[in-house]
């Protein structure tokens, strides 16, 4: 059943179509200098240079959800650094590149380290200030011509040949663009790429999966800055003249326009955007004077208007259109599963030494100022059981959940897991210790496949870093965890079409998918936050059946639930909370007959 995708003739046709398109564009790029005039090639080179800088922004904005106005400033820094190394120190442009990349890395790391801890709009604001400051700084470097700029920057030589003509530089520039595109595509489909996607739309999911939002954003920010640096280096050594005005805030905005126009959701958007803006600008500059209008002023007006209309009417730019026209990169083929293959719950089995409970809460409390949300809560979760934490609205269930999952720190008491205290441990560390969670408001990445969503759960178990992701050296590990994710999907009954997009699932199936993601992390304990909320009766039954099935396989589950009916037929032990305190604890039958519980739920017994 799972081999459908790779045997499908249509999929095969698409796979080969993808290769055909790829080959054709490569041949086209190689052949262009033979057919086009020098002027057109120069223009195309400029497109390539800006495509590099834009690609950085596409990665940062489209995938990391933060943006930077400083791409042009980093370009300028790269260009000026290399100009200094070649003109004033008399060294080779390649050494200039190395120096420029080191300088840019230092600046980007410093800036990112300061601002990326703060969410929201702090990074864009800092990059804005940085862009203005860099522009002015460049204008103050008297040894490099200050505001009037500097010329006679030497050409780059490659394999003993000096790339003086635009036709020669074309191969270097577009070669680098293609390398960057391939690297970016590899990165996005690797472990780090999934971490980037997990981050989009908020850091909570990423942190719960053991991903440091800060590190991922810093990586993206530095990558974006380095791509801009390479673009600036190419700019300096192919234009042979640079001045601060090429790297002012205005240029930064233009790169931003390129990324939005191309669409930040797709790496190819960088090329499309750079192409459209560079050529559009050229066209406007030709057209406006012939209409008797001042080109300089109107150019920016036209661009501004186009940009605003685009954001209003097509916020995703041209890339959705592009995605429809171009064949998709073929998906990796799926491993074949036999019906006997099961997910290996290794840590659930490890945890089976019965000397102490898996999870233990001792006198746990949480105050918010004068409000006591949870008071002196004590209960245990034993292995291989389903424990339900229930209570009416406002009873402190969600706070308790946050205290266990590391989002809030208890003001008193100890939470121990596997016999060791986890009180105050950050949420990010818990998944590695064997505590996996789901969310009440489902947190999935809806434009990613089921398989990728589940593989996010295995993030902390995998090793591939940035470099092996970019160069595609992670094949073996990816394959191993792909089949593991498929097994997790099989556990929850979603394995029939793992390449479906998560956004196309019904809510009930999305909850199952979240459980599969939790299972992929090899948990000792799975904690579920109101898993039955919003589900229809049949979906609740399916969920209950799955949880029973998991318990039978040795899993331990703690669920925080509102729905009394749902837990009564499912849980081994029930803890009832009311006004932050433990009202009752026991087997479902005892809870059902407890007058205190009846009073809390039904408002008193007659």
């Amino acid at each position: 059943m799972t081999t459908m995708v790779d045997r499908n003739p249509l999929a095969l046709a698409f796979a080969s179509k993808y290769k055909i398109v790829l080959t054709l564009s490569l041949v086209g790029l190689l052949g262009l200098p033979l057919v086009l005039a020098s002027f057109s090639i120069s223009l195309l080179n400029l497109v390539g240079i800006y495509a590099l800088a834009t690609l950085g922004l596409v990665l940062l904005t489209g995938s990391g959800g933060v943006t930077s106005f400083a791409q042009a400033a980093f370009m300028g820094l790269g260009a000026y650094c290399s100009a200094f190394v070649t003109l004033r120190l008399g060294l080779n442009p390649w050494l200039g590149l190395v120096a420029a990349m080191i300088l840019v890395a230092c600046c980007a790391v410093a800036m990112g380290a300061i601002t990326l801890h703060l969410g929201g709009h702090y990074l864009p604001i800092t990059t804005l200030a940085w862009a203005v400051a860099t522009y002015m700084l460049l204008g103050n470097i008297t040894t490099l011509g200050a505001h009037s700029g500097i010329g006679d920057i030497p050409s780059i030589s490659f394999a003993g040949m000096s790339l003086d003509k635009p036709e020669q530089a074309h191969y270097l520039i577009w070669g680098l663009v293609i390398l960057a595109l391939v690297g970016a595509t590899n990165l996005l489909s690797s472990r780090q790429g999934r971490a980037i996607s997990a981050l989009r739309g908020g850091a909570l999911l990423a942190e719960s999966l053991g991903i440091s939002a800060f590190r991922v954003r810093l990586m993206l920010f530095v990558v974006a800055a380095e791509l801009a640096c390479v673009a600036g280096w190419l700019f300096a050594h192919t234009q042979h003249f640079i001045s601060p005005s090429s790297f002012d805030l205005n240029s930064g905005m233009q790169i931003l326009l390129m990324s939005v126009l191309g669409g930040v959701g797709n790496v190819l958007g960088a090329i499309v955007g750079a192409f459209a803006v560079t050529l559009g600008r050229n066209w406007i500059q030709d057209l406006l004077p012939s209409l008797g209008l001042d080109a300089g002023a109107l150019e920016i007006v036209v661009f501004g208007a186009v940009f605003i209309l685009l954001v209003q009417y097509s916020p995703r730019g041209l890339s959705p259109l592009l995605a429809r026209v171009l064949p998709a990169r073929p998906k990796p083929s799926l491993p074949k599963l036999s019906s006997a293959d099961r997910l290996d719950f290794s840590r659930m089995k490890d945890a089976s030494d019965g000397s102490h409970p898996l999870l233990k809460l001792e006198g746990v409390g949480k105050r918010f100022g004068g409000l006591i949300a949870v008071k002196d809560l004590t209960f245990d979760v034993h292995r291989g059981t389903i424990v339900a934490l229930i209570g009416p609205n406002g009873a402190g269930k969600s706070t308790t959940f946050d205290l266990i999952s590391g989002l809030k720190i208890p003001t008193s008491g100890v939470v121990s897991f596997l016999g060791r205290p986890i009180t105050g441990a950050p949420a990010r560390e818990l998944i590695g210790r064997g505590l996996a969670r789901t969310f009440q408001h489902v947190k999935l990445r809806s434009n990613m496949t089921l398989l990728d969503n589940v593989m996010m759960g295995a993030h902390w178990r995998m090793k591939a870093g940035f470099v092996s992701g970019v160069f595609g050296l992670d094949g073996a590990e990816e394959a191993k965890y792909r089949s593991l994710a498929l097994l997790a999907l099989k556990e929850v009954g979603l394995a029939d079409d793992p390449y479906r997009l998560a956004g196309n699932l019904a809510l009930g199936q999305q909850r199952l998918l979240e459980i599969a993601r939790a299972l992929a992390s090899d948990p000792a304990l799975v904690i579920l936050d109101e898993p039955a909320a919003g589900l229809r009766a049949l979906e609740k039954q399916a969920l209950a059946a799955l949880l029973r099935h998991l318990r039978a396989s040795g899993a331990t589950i703690l669920l925080v639930e509102h729905d009394m009916e749902f837990v009564m037929n499912l849980a081994d032990d029930i803890v009832v909370l009311d006004f932050g305190s433990r009202l009752a604890i026991g087997k479902p039958a005892e809870i059902r007959n407890d007058p205190k519980v009846q009073e809390a739920y039904l408002g008193g017994v007659a």
């Binding site: 300061i114 703060l118 969410g119 709009h121 800092t126 400051a133 501004g304 605003i308 954001v311 209003q312």
Partner: protein, 350 residues
């Protein structure tokens, strides 16, 4: 540096600080009610000074054309929206607010063409011409994307700066201007001599801060704006129109910009694109307040003014660099003092 120079620099710094304070208040006002970091705010200041100058020279200011264009576009946008949701009965009202009202000062200006006017009348006319630009821009540019992320709104606001600076170049030309001074001389306060300009600026900033405080605490509209700032959905649930709150915030910020433009016109040379730089400094001040606190934004802005004044003495060519890099330690400070919890941001909607 002796005491005398230090005192002069302090006066200078205080004067620019007071200007930046007014700007920062405008930034915070717009951001809290609409989540828009209105980066093109400074352009309104440039427009104000340029308009005042043109009126003083007896020319027809380009603002008149800008206003006509914006009013027509806004009316078309509003009426299209109304027709689409079949709110035909609201069309006359829309025509009145979006077309007639903004065109009023424009037509006054056209009528008064060629007649000699008193400086006070010119000032009022300038304010009347500049203020409507802000809500018109809000209606045309921002209202259709009001649910977009803060980031998208910021990007659009920056792009808008380039768009309207380009228009300013078309309407006003590339020459820098200084308006004729409305106030001259100096006054003695407690034995020290201050220029009248400085006193006017500081008084204006103080009066503005005071009236904003009164507006927010003592009027229902002000409270509605605060409610919107605190919780948009909550405000909507109790019947506050967040769009109306946004329009009011933009009108107020437009008024602030118009006043600032008139105040700085005689002392700073203004070009069509000067707005961004002036605006960004108020913006740096607002950053200190984290964009939400008025008093912190005011303190931050005065600090920016002082840093700028002293930096221009010690390292004049690096003055701007120093001012803008000051953002980074400020942000660092905010990070050190703020909590470090995992915060969930708004989901990007694809």
């Amino acid at each position: 540096m002796d005491f005398q120079i230090a005192a002069i620099l302090f006066q200078d710094g205080l004067a620019s600080g007071a200007i930046y304070t007014m700007l920062a208040l405008g930034f915070v006002l717009v951001f809290t009610t609409t989540r828009i970091i209105f980066a093109s705010y400074g352009d309104l200041i440039a427009f104000s000074a340029l308009t005042m100058h043109a009126l003083q020279e007896g020319q027809l200011p380009g603002t008149v054309y800008l206003l006509i264009v914006l009013a027509i576009v806004a009316t078309v946008v509003e009426c299209t929206a109304l027709i689409r949701e079949r709110g035909y009965r609201r069309i006359p009202w829309a025509l009145l607010t979006w077309l007639v009202l903004p065109l009023l000062p424009a037509s006054l200006c056209l009528l008064a063409q060629g007649t000699e006017l008193h400086p006070a009348v010119l000032t009022v006319l300038t304010i009347a011409l500049v203020v409507p630009i802000a809500p018109l821009l809000y209606r045309i540019v921002f209202q259709p994307i009001e649910t977009a992320s803060t980031l998208t709104l910021l990007i659009v606001a920056l792009v808008l700066h380039y768009l309207i600076a380009g228009l300013a170049l078309l309407f006003f030309g590339p020459e820098g201007i200084r308006t004729a001074a409305l106030l001259g001389g100096s006054v003695d306060i407690l034995g020290a001599t201050f220029s009248t300009q400085l006193v006017a600026v500081v008084v204006a900033a103080g009066a503005l801060a005071l009236s904003l405080a009164l507006f927010f605490n003592a009027t229902l509209t002000g409270k509605a704006l605060r409610a919107t700032a605190y919780n948009r959905n909550g405000a909507r649930l109790v019947g506050i129109s967040t769009r109306r709150a946004g329009s009011i915030a933009f009108i107020l910020s437009g008024a602030i910009a118009a006043i600032v433009g008139i105040l700085i016109g005689p002392t700073v040379t203004i070009y069509y694109d000067s707005g961004l730089m002036i605006g960004l400094k108020g913006f740096v001040g607002a950053v200190l307040g984290g964009f939400i606190s008025y008093p912190l934004a005011a303190i931050g802005s005065i600090l920016v003014g002082l840093v700028e004044a002293y930096a221009s003495f010690f390292a004049s060519s690096y003055k701007e660099i120093i001012v803008f890099l000051a953002v980074i330690p400020i942000i660092l400070l905010r990070w050190l003092t703020a909590g470090h919890g995992v915060e969930e941001e708004e989901e990007e909607h694809a």
